[in-house]
């Protein structure tokens, strides 16, 4: 299809879809309205269970099954990325690709900041996970912090240390294990919000390390372009 035809087709479709959605949205309750029956029920139940962060209560207790699906999606795509990016990594090495270990020039100040920030960030991640049942935050948000914190080492220019710190197989196994533990706990004893938060934190953290790690590998394993470095 030519670009013009395609755009016209899209324009016609989008006009129809927009009309449909607009008509539907105008029938919605007013923005900011006071009627939220499910929300009110969820708040009541959360307070009965004395989980003060209602969202954690919904995610890990009342609707824990959604979160099971979510964690499995995370696990599946981490595994999927490992499968997808594995073969190419091997092949690039076969071709004798040059490895670039981190940014070529890192100032000492940046290096020190990177090293100093790492423990602080890890601590913040653990804190966010641990307090997820009471205050904003939780396993997911903390896990994101943990998963990305490890990569501060890259900022510090220490790619070998980064590789030592994240042996991919261990993270793969831990991630799957945490997912399994989460599912077992959520199905057997829903309600243990802090423990569930912890399992999710570990899983999210490991999955992100895996995902980002695999992409780092891809980005760094590509052969230097023939033109040399800019």
């Amino acid at each position: 299809m030519r670009t013009r035809t395609r755009t016209l087709l899209f324009a016609a479709g989008a006009a129809g879809a927009a009309a449909l959605f607009t008509a539907g949205a105008l029938d919605l309750p007013r923005f900011g309205g006071a009627v939220h029956p499910y929300g009110d029920r969820a708040v009541r139940q959360a307070l009965r269970e004395s989980t003060t962060n209602t969202i954690s209560s919904v995610n890990f207790d009342q609707r824990a099954f959604d979160t099971i699906g979510e964690e499995l999606i995370l696990m599946a795509s981490a595994i999927g990325a490992v499968v997808l990016l594995r073969v190419v990594g091997k092949e690039a090495e076969d071709q004798g690709a040059a490895h670039r270990h981190g940014p070529a020039e890192v100032s000492d100040a940046l290096r020190i900041v990177g090293y100093l920030l790492l423990p602080v960030t890890l601590l913040i991640g653990v804190y966010i996970i641990a307090h997820g049942a009471q205050s904003p935050g939780g396993g997911f948000q903390g896990g994101v912090v943990l998963g990305t914190a490890v990569h501060l080492l890259y900022l510090a220019g220490d790619y070998p240390a980064l590789q030592r710190l994240r042996p991919i197989p261990v993270f793969e196994s831990t991630e799957a294990l945490a997912a399994g533990v989460f599912v077992a706990m959520a199905l057997a004893a829903a309600g243990a919000v802090p423990a569930l938060n912890g399992a999710v934190g570990v899983e999210v953290g490991c999955a992100l390390v895996l995902l980002i790690g695999k992409f780092f590998e891809q980005a760094l394993l590509v052969r230097e372009p023939p033109g040399g470095t800019p």
């Binding site: 989008a14 949205a25 981490a78 990325a81």
Partner: protein, 115 residues
């Protein structure tokens, strides 16, 4: 104001799809897909908003005070964000593979799979 946020969400969804339709670069297309998805976050949270309400967290104040925003849509959005990020990552991994295997990531240059 009364229905504007919903329409804004609809705009974000449509504009994301527009980006995919006109994209010349698969990585660009995947990013546009994540924009499409962010429209659903806005829609969900707009539905759950309540005038004069605070966040549904009771750690620093007694319950039964001020009304709170709907925690269910927030939990749903949270799930949605995770799903979106992981789908984006997986699709980007596929796009990287397409580039390596086919030598281009312009959808216009990728030959049809139809024989």
């Amino acid at each position: 104001m009364s229905h504007l946020p919903y329409l804004a969400a609809g705009w974000i969804v449509i504009v994301g799809i527009y980006g995919i339709v006109t994209s010349r670069d698969l990585i660009h297309a995947v990013v546009c897909l994540s924009v499409t998805q962010s429209g659903t976050y806005v829609l969900l949270l707009a539905i759950g908003y309540r005038d004069g309400a605070t966040a549904p967290v009771f750690s620093d104040r007694p319950p039964h005070g001020r009304p709170v925003t709907d925690p269910v849509v927030q939990a749903m959005t949270l799930t949605d964000i995770v799903v979106g990020a992981t789908v984006t990552a997986l699709l980007l991994a596929l796009a990287v593979q397409v580039a390596k295997r086919r030598g281009t990531i312009d959808p216009g240059e990728l030959r049809s799979l139809e024989s």
